[in-house]
Amino acid sequence: MGDGIDRRALLGGAGAGAIMALLRDSYAASLPPAGGPGRAGGEPGRPPAALDAASTRAFAANQTVTALVPGRLYRVGCVVRAERLSWLPADLPGGFEPLNAYVLTDETNCVFVEPGMPILLPALKSAIDTLVGGRRVWVNFTRNEADCIGNLGYVLGSCPQPTLLFGGAGGILEWINDPAVSMLEVRDFLGRIPIVDARNDTAREVGALRMRWMDAGYKQMLITQWAFEETTGCLFTSDAMGYRHLAAVDAPPVVESVRQLPSVDAVAAEIARRMNWMREAEYPEVIERFQRIFREHDVRMVAPIHGCVLRGREVVAAHVKLVSKALRAASRIADAERLRYA
């Protein structure tokens, strides 16, 4: 190639032309083109507009705010094609993936749990516009990765007097001290934005909301928390448990049935994509811990940062059983790095 790039593996095996054709055929990218005027990402619940054929931007559709528990819990997110995603073992042709952020509310408080990926910012803006009002704003995230805190700067910078509910490591605050990247609303937020402790195995009442934080049931990154809100029974599981995907761009991103569960092997492959250390590893204590979290909490909903929300005790129980089996199966997946340099 003229520019020195070997593109034989471009886009995970798919040709660039094929990807671009998909983009041209797809729905609206949600963010404005560089230097151009803002293009609406769509009102909540309304179908997206068609994508400009000349666009080279990423695909995102259905930027929506969905009530999971009216007046109390909302999913804020969008849908992308299930391709070029590191957590999937392979692209899912014709498949789609929900990307999620969440907002908890009561009469006087509004808690953003996972500000989410920048590509879902249009939905997040809608959530800020429609849900904050005069409420006090809190922000909580499960891990300090771009998929969870990509919009942290926007929330901190655009909401009045936000408070950070933080359970991570102090050094990480220095990394994200200027989290807005292209949006410089909150440069140097340390010392200006209150930070309230939300360590593992602690609980806090935020108005009528009852939050509890714990070490993640299973994880890839060391400092990953899960959060449980008792009144909704919602467990926020970060980058875990998002193993239900969409067959259509406008399919509901909430699973309420135990039918058509994915196979144990399929879920194990997805777990191993995220938690790469589990391949060829032995971790009975992790599986026990994962199951114990569900024994000790009345979980009626599981809210991951990607993949469908799982709603209902029966649905949650079926997925806990499935994931338990898949965690064991992930241990039997070959360790590619070990074999790579044979």
Partner: protein, 292 residues
């Protein structure tokens, strides 16, 4: 035991806390240390711990930057980069993995250098940087090569990775490996070793510096590290290493390179860190853990 490269540029100025440094005529070291201490809720006040958050620029016929540093570094990194490039364009940005201290400034870099392309396992980046045109995110896999004119950069599957998709980069001319999170070291502020390479320290300080590896990899005790160390030795046989760099270390080269590698590999084989919070306690932190 290898000697230092003949054209290595010894410390040109006092760099306590200060970068950039032109380490070799074709290798610039940029970035800075972050405070890695300050755990919320801890009863004891810990001494300030420096976590190097580094990036490197290879100044070949074309230029490539290895990682980007975290958001908070940008306001010093931008000037450092300009000083090291001396008006040259930045052609490529290698993104080792998606973690913020490694690639948080990708969007800013591609905006500043509009002809630059990101190379690496670029899955997911369109979700984090929807402002970047997709054709500027170029997918690389294990074994792929990038021609810089006077050398190639070979992309290698990382043997130890935190986020999936982590790649390492190998410079065929300098025999330099950029190992993302591997070979990272933290130090105390009182050590005064910011911006200092191992071979520039006295023996006691160098030994002390190697006692605090940063190995932020989950589940190290849950699987066989011996097999992975063996894989790393096979990698070095295939790609001889004379300079080690990473996102969390100063360049390691010269007579202290091989002992440093062996010390770390031995530690991994004999006493890998316990990084699962569920079995580590005390917020899951071992002394060598830095982030994650």
């Amino acid at each position: 035991m290898p000697d230092l490269p003949k054209d290595v540029i010894q410390k040109a100025y006092v760099v306590r806390g200060g970068l950039p440094r032109l380490v070799l005529p074709d290798l610039a070291w940029v970035g800075g240390c972050s405070n890695s201490a300050g755990w919320p809720g801890r009863a004891n006040v810990k001494p300030v711990t420096h976590e190097p958050c580094m990036a490197y620029v290879v100044l070949g016929q074309k230029t490539i930057m290895f990682d980007t540093g975290h958001y908070g570094l940008w306001y010093s990194l931008e000037g450092q980069l300009e000083a090291m490039l001396q008006g040259r364009p930045l052609d490529y940005v290698f993104v080792s993995h998606q973690e913020i201290p490694h690639t948080g400034n990708l969007g800013r870099l591609l905006a500043k250098y509009p002809r630059a392309k990101a190379v690496g396992d670029v899955r997911d980046y369109h979700l984090f940087h929807p402002e970047i045109a997709l054709d500027r995110l170029v997918m690389m896999q294990h074994g792929d090569r990038l021609d810089l004119g006077d050398r190639e950069i070979v992309f290698l599957d990382a043997i130890w990775k935190d986020l999936s998709g982590t790649l390492w980069a190998y410079d065929t001319k300098r025999r330099l490996i950029f190992s993302a999170d591997m070979f990272g070291y933290i130090h105390l502020a009182d050590d005064h070793v910011c911006g200092t390479m191992l071979h520039e320290m006295d023996e006691a300080l160098a030994a002390k510096s190697l006692e605090r590896p940063a190995l932020p990899f989950t589940g190290m005790r849950q699987r066989d590290q011996g097999a992975r160390v063996a894989a790393f030795r096979r990698l070095m046989a295939q790609f001889p290493v004379e300079i080690v760099t990473s996102g969390h270390t100063a360049p390691i080269m010269g007579p202290r390179l091989q002992p440093a590698i062996e010390q770390l590999l031995h530690a991994l084989e004999t006493s890998p860190p316990r990084f699962l919070q569920s079995d580590a306690g005390d917020h899951g932190r071992d002394p060598g853990a830095t982030h994650g």
